[in-house]
């Protein structure tokens, strides 16, 4: 136990140092907002380390989806290649709802959220922490998916611009997802309601994100298209993160 703990705090220190470099003025270890965010992220990662349930379920679900789609597309590689980008995003969206549901169900399991809410912390820290941890899980899923898609569809998914768009798209999707899932978790229908509410809301994110990924994999990518699509994705990220930070207390408090 003691040994374990040493490892953790070293990890924490390294992370804090990294953060501290970006904003050198204040000591970040003392910032109450960031310590709260880190506490919750640490807790989520710890749970995932013990159970490995979130990422593994997402990965398995994605693999099943991809294989099913391949059959539906009659396994013609050419046909499959053309829809690979769309398929990648569709898979991420669907698997993402599983991750979101699981991550926020944990907080409702023993009404744990109450224990977090009575702690003297900013509610926005809870939102940000949940966005960070689900984003980490989804990025892990995407790591696997990119590998799988390269093999299955023989397209250059490894290009940096593709990875950048995947990252930005995931942040926006999870930011919208945490806000919506925090609401649907408190309804009678729980998990079922999430995709109905969330998927239409992320269309303005997925449209440019899929275009950007598609464009960056053609033989001669057009930089202007990619640039405008990436800025659309980034704009969505900012808008939705702002809405989330602004309204989250209304969603978790009563």
């Amino acid at each position: 136990m003691r040994h374990k703990q040493g490892g953790r705090s070293a990890w924490q220190t390294r992370r804090m140092n990294k953060l501290a470099q970006s904003t050198p003025s204040t000591s970040l270890r003392d910032n109450p907002f960031l310590t709260a965010v880190w506490a919750i992220v640490w807790k989520d990662l710890q749970i995932e380390k013990h159970t490995r349930q979130t990422v593994s379920v997402m990965v398995m679900f994605s693999l099943v989806t991809v294989v099913m789609f391949n059959f539906a597309l009659e396994t013609e590689l050419d046909a499959a290649r053309n829809v690979a980008t769309g398929l990648l995003w569709a898979t991420i969206l669907l698997a993402g709802t599983l991750g979101l549901n699981r991550s926020l169900a944990i907080e409702r399991e023993n009404q744990n959220i109450d224990a977090i809410l009575i702690a003297p912390i900013d509610r926005r820290a809870i939102y940000l922490a949940k966005v960070i941890s689900v984003t980490i899980f989804t990025l892990l899923l995407e790591l696997v998916l990119v590998f799988v898609f390269i093999i299955f569809f023989d397209k250059p998914f490894w290009r940096p611009i593709v990875l950048l768009v995947l990252f930005l798209g995931t942040v926006g999707y999870v930011a919208a997802g945490v806000l919506i899932t925090s609401m649907t978790m408190q309804t009678r229908s729980k998990e079922v309601l999430l995709p109905i509410l969330l998927l239409p809301l992320v269309l303005p994110l997925i449209l440019p994100a899929a275009t950007a990924v598609g464009e960056s994999m053609v033989v001669a990518p057009e930089a202007s298209i990619i640039r405008s699509m990436v800025s659309l994705v980034a704009a969505y990220d900012l808008a939705i993160l702002a809405s989330g930070l602004f309204t989250y207390h209304l969603v978790v408090e009563s």
Partner: protein, 250 residues
């Protein structure tokens, strides 16, 4: 606004809405000139634009209602937001159906994933989901709060959908170009169709339609709000009866 006031104004509003609706229908058929290339089918266009306009207004009103509810937690704002989304969805459906009927002769297809139709579909899904959310929450206060948050986020994303679709179309003119472009927007469309006096008559008809649809929207809003008042007062009466009965027993 009190129930008494509503009761006084609603019959008047209802009559005004009915009359203007009949007038605008009459104008669509007898005043507006027959369009040259499309023929009589074009007459549905006035209806289509009128209802699409009201849809947009209604969702904006819902946004305002939601924001004001979150600010001062007064029930009336939740009622306004709810009523507006309900009515807006009806008008959006009318606009979509009318657009589809117009699309068949115009572009020889009922449906096409053109930017405009994509936007309408997404807006429709987004606001239909609003009722799913409301329906799944028991406690009134929580329902109103979540609905208000959702209606704000929904509006933000609808605006972003609109922007991204515009930019999207600019860079992919091949996909969405050609005949579909002729259906672009109300004003551009009208100018294509007819010059001079005829164009003016069309413009007047369109304006009258838009105004009468807006009046219809307002009348429906008041009716819907009154309905909510009545439902609430029934609830509170039930509660009082229950309390009285309980008190009598002890």
């Amino acid at each position: 606004m009190s129930l008494v006031k509503l009761n006084r104004w609603i019959p008047i509003l209802n009559i005004v809405a009915a009359v203007t609706l009949v007038v605008s229908l009459g104008m669509n058929f007898f005043y507006a000139p027959t369009e040259r290339t499309m023929g009589n089918v074009q007459r549905i266009f006035y209806f289509h634009v009128g209802s699409a306009w009201v849809g947009a207004v209604a969702f904006f009103v819902a946004l305002v209602g939601g924001a004001l509810y979150l600010r001062n937690k007064q029930r009336i704002w939740d009622t306004i937001a709810l009523s507006s989304v309900e009515i807006g969805l009806v008008f959006l459906t009318i606009a979509t159906a009318a657009g589809s009927v117009w699309g068949k002769p115009a572009w020889n297809t009922w449906w096409d994933w053109s930017p405009r139709l994509t936007l309408i579909t997404v807006a429709w899904l987004t606001y239909a989901a609003y009722f799913m959310l409301r329906g799944a929450i028991e406690e009134e206060d929580k329902r109103a709060r979540f609905a208000a948050v959702y209606v704000i986020v929904a509006f933000v994303t609808i605006i972003m959908t609109y922007i991204s679709i515009r930019i999207f179309r600019d860079i992919h003119p091949v996909v969405f170009g050609g005949t579909l472009e002729t259906a672009e927007g109300a004003s551009e469309g009208l100018q294509d169709f007819a010059p001079g006096l005829e164009s003016m008559k069309m413009g007047i008809t369109l304006t009258v339609n838009t105004v009468s649809f807006t009046i219809l929207y307002i009348a429906w809003m008041f009716n819907r709000i009154r309905l909510q008042y009545l439902m609430d007062s029934v609830d509170s009466l039930k509660m009082r009866v229950a309390t009285r009965l309980q008190g009598g027993k002890a």
